[in-house]
Subunit: 425 residues, 2 copies
């Protein structure tokens, strides 16, 4: 890609139509420019002499107060997530670009009360797990996908761009340090959760793209959420609550997609449901389940087994790494048996399939919930029961794809998606 010049005083109607897309493309293109020209979030003009994010400059300051690894099953203490001993932080300013990344003791951040992130939600994050394999090795699952999505999210929320592979290197470096202790070899089949985060730190109340930011990576414990007793129960979103919309930012992993949805989720939980099934538009297109992608398996009217999930093209939903992996494996391994379709489909279609006895199974897929069978959808006073398979813990396709991906994560199957983290012996 060639860096795209921004027309400063364009008055053509065509360019007005795609102001956002133009801005995103322009910012991403800067990544290919020399001299770290990707760093100017504030005015969209490429700058010289600003430093690019460079994982090779990582400095190490080890903790002098190492903490104990919690016993298996403990992931938070006093309502606070348990983190590992270290984190990586990297400062960015529009003037100077990226500082050298620092691996340092995990601890609080100091932010001025005027910091951009606290007022304007200039923040984005990623979530991925590190897995202790049954072969003893430590792996990340497709970290390149998360790193690339983080760049896209960051640009969408007016935070700086950076080369995705540098973030991937930093994640691996952090796991190399904290993995051996916090994900010990005697706990095969367990995982930690990495949370790369970027926040706007400029201490300036003006509504503007921040000229200072902080990228940080932390590693935490998280409960196993992929097998709730009886399956995940979904409540469709109310008419007065839309998660994301065409022309919005539903496809980006920015804080602004999460906080506003909590209210409906809290209310749904008080009514006994696990998550919201987010509908979109007057026809009630099924989009996401909570913060996970959602998949229906049904028989078509012609009797074929079909897996459907919402498409990416209108940028309403997250381009999930688990989603992508599910689709790819099913297409590769169950071709002919299951028809895999990304298209818009509505809650009416789901209800119709239910009435006609064509619903086969359903699941949510994402990093936090992995692949989680769905047993019920509640919509406008009606319960749609979804088969949970012979075992009662998920339909056969759900469990099949869960096994396949789990095997890659935990080293029971060798696959390029499982990236081994080097560790001291």
């Amino acid at each position: 890609m060639t860096p795209v010049a921004v027309p400063e005083t364009s008055h053509s109607g065509e360019q007005d139509l795609n102001l956002t897309a133009a801005a995103v493309e322009h910012r991403l293109a800067e990544n290919d420019a020399p001299n770290g020209a990707s760093n100017n979030a504030a005015n969209g003009v490429a700058q010289r002499n600003v430093k690019e994010l460079d994982a090779s400059k990582l400095t190490y300051t080890f903790t002098k107060e190492p903490r104990n690894v919690p016993p298996p099953g403990v992931h938070s203490i006093d309502d606070a997530t348990v983190s590992t001993d270290h984190m990586i932080t990297v400062k960015w300013t529009a003037k100077s670009g990226w500082s050298a990344p620092e691996l340092r003791p995990y601890g609080p951040l100091s932010l001025m009360p005027t910091a951009s992130v606290l007022h304007y939600a200039t923040e984005c994050f990623e979530g991925l797990k590190a897995y202790r394999g049954f072969d003893g090795k430590l792996r990340l699952f497709r970290p390149d996908c998360n790193a690339r999505r983080m760049v896209m999210s960051s640009v969408r929320i007016s935070l700086p761009s950076f080369p995705a592979e540098e973030l991937e290197k930093l994640m691996i470096a952090l796991m190399s340090v904290d993995g051996p202790k916090w994900l010990p070899r005697d706990r095969p089949g367990s995982f930690l959760y990495l949370r790369p985060t970027m926040i706007g730190t400029q201490s300036q109340l003006g509504v503007q793209a921040p000229s200072e930011a902080l990228l940080y990576i932390i590693v935490t414990f998280m409960p196993i959420m992929d097998s709730p007793p009886g399956g995940m129960k979904l409540h469709t979103s109310p008419n007065d609550m839309v998660r994301a919309w065409v022309g919005g930012f539903g496809y980006a992993k920015v804080g602004a997609n999460y906080g506003p949805s909590l209210l409906a989720t809290v209310e749904a939980r008080a009514r006994g449901f696990s998550q919201i099934l987010w509908l979109y538009g007057p026809d009630g297109e099924c989009t996401e389940a909570g913060a996970s992608n959602f998949f229906m398996v049904w028989k078509t009217k012609e009797g074929k087994t079909q897996l459907v999930t919402a498409p990416l093209d209108d940028r309403l939903i997250l381009d999930g790494v688990t989603r992508r992996s599910v689709l790819q494996l099913l297409r590769e391994r169950l071709a002919g048996e299951v028809d895999v379709v990304e298209r818009k489909y509505t809650i009416k279609e789901v209800m119709e399939a239910d009435s006609e006895g064509r619903v086969v199974e359903a699941f949510a897929a994402g990093t936090a919930f992995f692949i989680c069978p769905v047993s019920l959808i509640h919509h406008r006073g009606r319960d749609i029961q979804i088969p949970m398979g012979k075992s009662g813990d998920g339909g056969s396709i759900t469990l099949q794809v869960k096994t396949w991906i789990g095997d890659i994560m935990y080293g029971r199957a060798q696959h390029e998606w499982g990236v081994v983290v080097p560790e001291e012996q």
Copy 2:
């Protein structure tokens, strides 16, 4: 209002339609319940023995390192907003409710990297100014309106509720301390900017309503933005960018409304415009100008002078305090001369009025930009020029209402909207 019980396992279709509205009403109703029952954000169940926000418990810790007041016109140093010597902070937890408010030296906040606000945009704020009057008095302008809106925003983003009047008392208490020094009597006609802010502080990565929060109030300097040379120039929003949507949260002052809009604003500024005129829906309804409300004055086809602005009823736009004041004063004082209408109107109507020579004037209104004349709207390659009055600095209705409101703010006219802050002599 009577506290509304949340039906825990309601399966009626009707209630499913309004899950969010039900949740908001339920939370707001709790404010009227005894024993500070408004405090449980996490599960929507009223609790006993949690403490309500109580301004009378304010403690005072004065700074030992007082800073200098910047010279007139200086509002930031090294890209950082200048704040006054003190701030007020109040901690909240779901278990205990509100701690005693603390007035203390302005300084950094310490947040764990896992804090809710840094990931899920659990944040909201208010903005209002303190004015040093020409009569020597210090005033806030309708602080009750800001305090009530803050409660609504907080509940919408799953942060705690509180009695609005307690926040108003805290704002006045802070200005009583910092007003005499930072808004000195020898600078009549100047202002400071108060920023009450609420953030979710729980150190927990789960996507959930935070069980800990911090309310804080800071006082800062801000540039005068109501009179840009040549007027404010607006660029209509691109097709691929929607600020707010029906079923969203455009009416609440939450961070999630701001960060995502920065990208288009940056691009518009690079093209020489001041702000985005946010259009909504296929017909291009005019909603807001940047983060301000927007007003058109035109002649109707029948020859009447009409002021139009977007309505509040679909909750797309902010219920601005300046907006509300503009409408009320024009209805009171220019009845018969100007027809004041809150309704949906489209960019096509604006273009048609322009073609027919019916556009009279336009302005943006909000706390930051006060009442700011608009001279140009650029839409899809076309420039709509808007008259700026005989003086060239704004149309006559724009300047009239600006004078009226300014006179109340700066004590040239006595009015109940100007709330005097008590100061030591």
